[in-house]
């Protein structure tokens, strides 16, 4: 009897883990694009996700998106937060990030890494506290009737809002992957990531390639946040929890690999949910830290670590 209940719980945690993992995978892809193409250590990524959540919230409650109804509205709002945060990322890169990245800092102390760290931490602090002023500190969520409805598969309940978020996240991740693999701009981004100097010899404007990669990464993570917002309440400080989730996913997948970031993110979602089987709910992020440490210790190259170049 006891064991039967445990199995039911395990199946439920597994299903929830996969569903939540979809949105995590997408947000990791966003960070993966930025880290993979620019090698920038970006601590503000969680706060970009927070902005995506608030953008989704305000869009979903606006008259403009209201016409899509209560069911499709929140998903449409999450998708629309992408272009908005893309523009935000573009401006941020143009005015600040480009000053501490690329050719300009190649011979700076630590390759500009220290400056990037301080800058993105600073941006994160400004966004968090700016968020407190603008949005307030009360936790909110994007309300949709789907959040309270579930499909039943055997004994497992699939929350409908999460299923919608999962499907949308997988779809967007696939599109992003297609774009990076087959488009001319995508090839240019990957070439600039592999070797910026050689990419310049091919005619790639590396600064612009970085700007596109950064904006795209911000937008993708923001959409992931927006999708998550209908099954998770949030406040301006939520980014701090999620930046850890993202780095754990990206490192698990293998630094520099987009596919890796996707599978890493999915795995982290799964680990987080499965841990609730054995540990109190409040400790679920502790498990992520633990997994993160174990990966770094035993498997630093991750699932899809970069090929090493022959010399």
């Amino acid at each position: 009897m006891e064991f039967g209940i445990f199995l039911e719980d395990a199946a439920q945690a597994l299903a929830t883990g996969i569903l939540v993992g979809g949105a995590y995978a997408l947000m990791c892809v966003g960070l993966g694009i930025i880290f993979g193409s620019m090698r920038v250590i970006n601590f503000a990524q969680g706060d970009f996700m927070m902005l995506g959540m608030y953008a989704t919230y305000y869009l979903a409650t606006s008259a403009l998106v209201g016409v899509f109804g209560l069911y499709a509205g929140p998903a449409v709002a999450a998708l629309l937060s992408g272009p908005i945060l893309f523009a935000f990322g573009w401006l941020l890169h143009k005015t600040m990030i480009s000053r501490v990245t690329g050719a300009r800092v190649a011979d700076m102390d630590g390759g500009g890494g220290y400056a990037q760290l301080i800058l993105t931490l600073g941006i994160g602090l400004v966004l968090q506290n700016g968020g407190l002023i603008l949005f307030g500190s009360t936790p909110i969520a994007v309300l949709t009737p789907l959040s309270r409805q579930s499909w039943e598969v055997g004994t497992v309940l699939l929350n409908q809002a999460r299923v919608v978020a999962f499907v949308a996240a997988i779809g967007i991740a696939a599109l992003v992957n297609l774009f990076l693999t087959y488009s001319r701009i995508g090839r240019g981004l990957r070439a600039a990531a592999d070797n910026p100097v050689a990419a310049t010899y091919m005619g790639v404007d590396v600064t612009k390639a970085h700007r596109i990669a950064f904006s795209l990464g911000v937008a993708v993570t923001a959409v992931a946040g927006g999708l998550l917002a209908s099954s998770q309440s949030f406040q301006p400080y939520i980014g701090i929890d999620f930046v850890i989730v993202m780095y754990a996913g990206v490192v698990l997948g293998g630094l520099g690999s987009i596919m890796g970031a996707f599978w890493g993110g999915l795995t982290i979602g799964l680990v987080q949910q499965l841990s609730t089987l054995f540990l109190p709910y409040q400790l679920q992020n502790t498990t992520i830290f633990l997994v993160f440490l174990l990966i770094i210790f035993f498997w630093p190259q991750g699932m899809f670590g970069r090929v090493s170049e022959r010399t």
Binding site: A103, R184, R187, G188, R190, A191, A193, D194, N195, V197, A198, A199, T200, Y201, M202, G203, V204, D205, V206, G256, R306, V307, S308, E309, R310
Partner: protein, 235 residues
Amino acid sequence: MLRIRELSVHYGGLCALDKVSIDVEAGQFVAIVGPNGAGKTTLFKAISGTVGPSGGTIEYKGRDLLAVPPHQRPALGIAHVPEHRQVFPSMTVLENLQMGAYAPAAAAQWKRSLELIYELFPILAERGTQLAGTLSGGQQQMVAIGRGLANVPELLMLDEPSMGLAPAVVDMIFDRIQQIHKERELTILLVEQRAAEALESCDLGYVLETGRVAMVGDNQQLLNDKRLQQSYLGL
């Protein structure tokens, strides 16, 4: 075609190029030889724009090249095959070659370029889907040259294509460079430490020493020069 006048490049306080003047006429094969640290690679970087000169001018087909942003120079018909090959390791051989045709004009001729590259280096056709980072040095050099050719260049700049390769592979690479030059009447600017091979192939040779042009002449003049024979040709 290419007119370089009194070009100087400084790295911090270090002078890498000191008032270097070099001419390349259309259809010529020009070789630049010299020891390590003579400024050969720096010269190429200045032409491609990844290093900014502290003085002098570079004119390409009558146009001030220094006023053109680096990433727009390939579209003018300048292909740079860099030192150490510098293929894109996590991209496939085919993707690497296609990067050479990144400029729109070159992209329009991509299909034909690829045929020509595969004709020149048949092994690359077999390796199309392999990641370039996993190729041998010789094959990476073929990818690097093929990538340059995909740009449909008028001026092909080759920086030490022989570096780190087995002698038989070096011979093959030099043969192919000769073939490209003769069959397509492509203008070639070659930088090499292997002075003998480079000078034999070229129409005009420059000897670069500690950032200065120490000698200039056609291949017979240079190959017969006593001092050059002693210091570079090992005769």
